[in-house]
């Protein structure tokens, strides 16, 4: 964490980009200083999109659409941004949806592969909620990883949430059950359930997750009311597989994309939005409690191609 004064996500992104040694980050502006949108230009644009992790197929589709509408037209960087946005926004706009807290306690299960930022995201969400005067309970459902419970406990202290934790190695489903009981007793508004990181190709770990969901339903058939899959923006095309498998095992209701404060653009989200249409609630842009922002399709789309803030 740096002590630099807080700036908006874009301010920081821009700063990050300026500092980056790579030419990737020069983006559209470097390629398009007023030129014809000919084949060569389209190829360069396609490469830019690939380097933003859009994936070969999606990048090709986006570029094909641009070719259809703007081929051989004189085009400057701003027009490119507008044209790109016109292609990408219809895909991203529909998934820009804040998380609605509907039940009490509203149970939020947070899942994802190892190290993507689940625990930190819980801390950030709790911070948002307690700041708004909500009563939040956390469940330390990662009973496997060393110091996972301690880590969440510190986040609970930081945010004024209370925490239900068990022993290391305890059954995660049992703990979630107990936490929901306690959250009810305490008349909490929101229960945030942390889980251990798990790779989606590990069947036994995915079974364990399915069990957490099953057991929560015993207490409340509607629980978990939200199941958030946390994706790391630095992840490449495997993120698609992650969504696919977690969705079928744990009925994902929404996504959070973390680590967008680096140079990774998380372009795979375009393919994910198109394929699954799952809401994207938040993005993570740093390690502190304040570094959670609502997902904004437009700035995300612009950032994909290294665009500047309007």
């Amino acid at each position: 964490m740096t002590d630099a004064p807080k700036k908006g996500w874009f301010g920081r992104l821009k700063e990050g980009l300026a500092r980056s040694a790579s030419s990737l980050t020069q983006g559209v502006a470097a390629i398009f200083t007023k030129r014809k949108l000919d084949q060569a230009a389209l190829d360069e644009l396609e490469e830019l999109l690939i380097r933003a992790d859009l994936g070969v197929a999606t990048a090709a589709k986006v570029v094909a659409e641009l070719r259809r509408t703007r081929f051989d037209k004189e085009t400057g960087p701003e027009e490119i941004h507008v044209a790109l946005a016109a292609v990408v926004l219809p895909i991203l706009q529909p998934v820009q949806k804040p998380l609605a807290f509907t039940a009490k306690p509203h149970v939020v299960l947070v899942v994802g592969v190892n190290g993507v930022g689940k625990t930190t995201t819980i801390g950030k969400i709790a911070h948002n909620l307690t700041r708004d005067g909500k009563k939040v309970v956390m469940a330390a459902g990662d009973t496997f990883r060393a110091a996972a419970i301690e880590q969440l406990t510190i986040w609970a202290q930081r945010t004024g949430a209370s925490i239900v934790s068990g022993k290391v190695g305890a059954d995660a489903a049992g703990l979630a059950f107990e936490a929901l009981q306690k959250a009810r007793e305490q008349n909490a508004d929101v229960l945030l359930v942390d889980t251990a990181g798990r790779l989606q190709n590990k069947a036994h770990l995915m079974d364990e997750l399915a069990k957490v969901v099953r057991v929560l339903k015993k207490l409340d058939p509607d629980a978990p009311h939200s199941t958030l899959l946390v994706l790391d923006a630095t992840t490449g095309q495997n993120a698609i597989q992650q969504v696919e498998v977690f969705r079928s095992v744990a009925q994902i209701t929404g996504l959070v994309v973390t680590k967008l404060d680096g140079t990774a653009r998380g372009g795979v989200l375009v393919a994910i939005a198109e394929k699954f249409g799952l809401p994207v609630h938040w993005i993570g842009v740093g390690e502190t409690a304040d570094d959670l922002q609502p997902f904004d399709a437009e700035s995300f789309a612009r950032a994909l191609t290294g665009g500047d803030e309007k």
């Binding site: 980056s20 990883r145 301690e150 490449g236 095309q237 495997n238 390690e287």
Partner: protein
């Protein structure tokens, strides 16, 4: 979704194999598909370009014409080039320096630094009989130092006592002192995760480096990383210096293109692979094996090794012998199903078998999951030993009996039989090269090894 890289290349190369003579246009087509496959595998674009540029001149021209079959030759060239780019030899952690040898672990947030620190320390201590001290310089992430302390306890490796309020450079100096006074051979320094564009934190880790003079600086990177791998690798190389790469989450089903990207950008060898959360889930990096895996030629060597770890030795030997003969009956399939369950999922084992990339995709398309494994095993259990050994005898009435016994439909039995047949076919195909021929052809690809033709 996308095929695996091995599946994809397998398809392209299959086509070449069937065609006979290779023209420049064929090479062009193959390389276009290889480009796409590499990108889909998350190899970073600039690295893909370098790769293709390097392969093209090798593939077009005299070398190709001299080969036994054009397809084999292209495989050889692409394979050689992959191995070359991944790093020709296995390089372990270098401890060739006055004790205590400091090893600095760096990388992005959540890449697996702390876990890998403990894994490496444990291995150095248990296997190489080194005295190791670990210290966490992570004052940023909640409970980070506590995490390493607990892992140290689990691994039986000493950790530097935690002193609250100390800054990373201070801790590093205290650790270096403690390692010297304590007569340790190795000092492992775990650091906080940091973004490569975070100037303040990059300076901090550079200061730690200057204070401790590490003999190894290991960049810990997630095998699932996408295109950003080149930016990360480049920045860490420029700002901190990188002597080696630790690739984590190789147990995932990512296609691992980041390995190629990072290696190409840093020029530093990939020294270690993380293959799980547990402390013994660590392996040496074998470039040739990985290249084979990428090419869909499978990795018989590590398949047999891995199988030997989990199943009884005789079983492994029997299996290896059968594989060597190109056989694959229902006994083998059942054994595989059981191992798959033991190894926690189908993906691990399957990726290692030659050509399995394609089959994995088929299975995925057919929507096969873990419960299906159980059902399939039930079907096999319902067969007589003779049927298992010789699937040819299974005709209509037997199928009905088997289906009834397993509580499934006849079409389920048919499906499994088709699967067994496909596996058997594949084994035969591998075997055409011959297990020995296969190994020999691998040998032929190594400098100084026997030539194949």
């Amino acid at each position: 979704m996308f095929e695996t890289l091995s599946g994809k290349l397998g398809t392209v190369l299959d086509r070449l194999r069937k065609r006979g003579a290779l023209s420049e246009a064929d090479v062009g087509e193959a390389l276009r598909e290889i480009r796409v496959a590499l990108l889909e595998a998350d190899v970073a674009l600039p690295v893909v370009k370098t790769f293709i540029d390097g392969v093209r001149p090798k593939a077009i021209g005299a070398q190709v014409l001299k080969s036994v079959t054009p397809g084999q030759m292209v495989i050889k060239i692409v394979h050689d080039h992959l191995v070359e780019m991944l790093g020709q030899t296995v390089e372990g952690i270098d401890l060739n320096a006055p004790a205590p040898v400091a090893i600095l672990m760096v990388g992005l947030q959540g890449s697996g630094k702390t876990t890998s620190t403990a894994k490496i320390a444990k291995r150095l201590q248990d296997r190489d009989k080194k005295r190791v001290l670990m210290a966490s310089l992570d004052v940023a992430r909640p409970a980070a130092q506590e995490q390493l302390r607990i892992l140290g306890e689990q691994a039986g490796v000493n950790t530097l006592p935690i002193v609250a309020g100390q800054m990373p450079v201070e801790i590093a100096k205290r650790a270096a002192n403690a390692a010297r006074l304590g007569g340790y051979d190795v000092l492992m320094l775990d650091t906080a995760g940091r973004l490569h564009v975070d100037e303040a934190l990059m300076s901090e880790v550079a200061a730690v480096r200057d204070a401790t003079g590490p003999h190894e600086i290991l960049l810990v990177a997630d095998a699932l990383t996408g295109q950003d791998a080149v930016n990360v690798a480049q920045s860490f190389k420029d700002r901190v210096g990188v002597t080696g790469i630790v690739l984590t989450r190789v147990d995932g089903d990512g296609r691992g293109g980041a390995a190629l990207s990072m290696r190409a950008v840093t020029g530093a060898p990939i020294k270690i692979m993380g293959v799980g959360e547990k402390l013994d889930a660590i392996e040496d990096f074998h470039p040739d094996r990985i290249a084979n895996r990428i090419l869909g030629m499978g990795d018989i060597v590590s398949l047999v090794e891995k199988a030997a770890e989990t199943i009884e030795k005789e079983e492994a030997e029997a299996m290896a012998a059968k594989l060597a003969k190109g056989q694959f009956d229902f006994d083998d399939l059942r054994q595989q199903l059981r191992q798959m369950k033991k190894m926690g999922g189908m993906q691990g084992l399957m990726g290692m078998l030659p050509g399995i990339g394609k089959m994995k995709q088929q299975m995925k398309d057919a929507n096969i999951d873990e419960s299906v494994l159980n059902r399939q095993e039930a079907i096999i259990n319902s067969m007589t030993p003779k049927e298992r050994r010789n699937p040819k005898v299974i005709h209509a009435s037997r199928k009905q009996r088997i289906a009834k016994g397993a509580g499934v439909s006849v079409s389920d039995v048919n499906r499994l039989m088709k699967q067994q047949m496909q596996m058997a076919d594949m084994m035969k195909r591998v075997n055409k090269l011959g297990q020995k021929g296969f190994m020999r052809s691998l040998g032929g690809m190594m400098p100084g090894g026997p030539k194949f033709n």
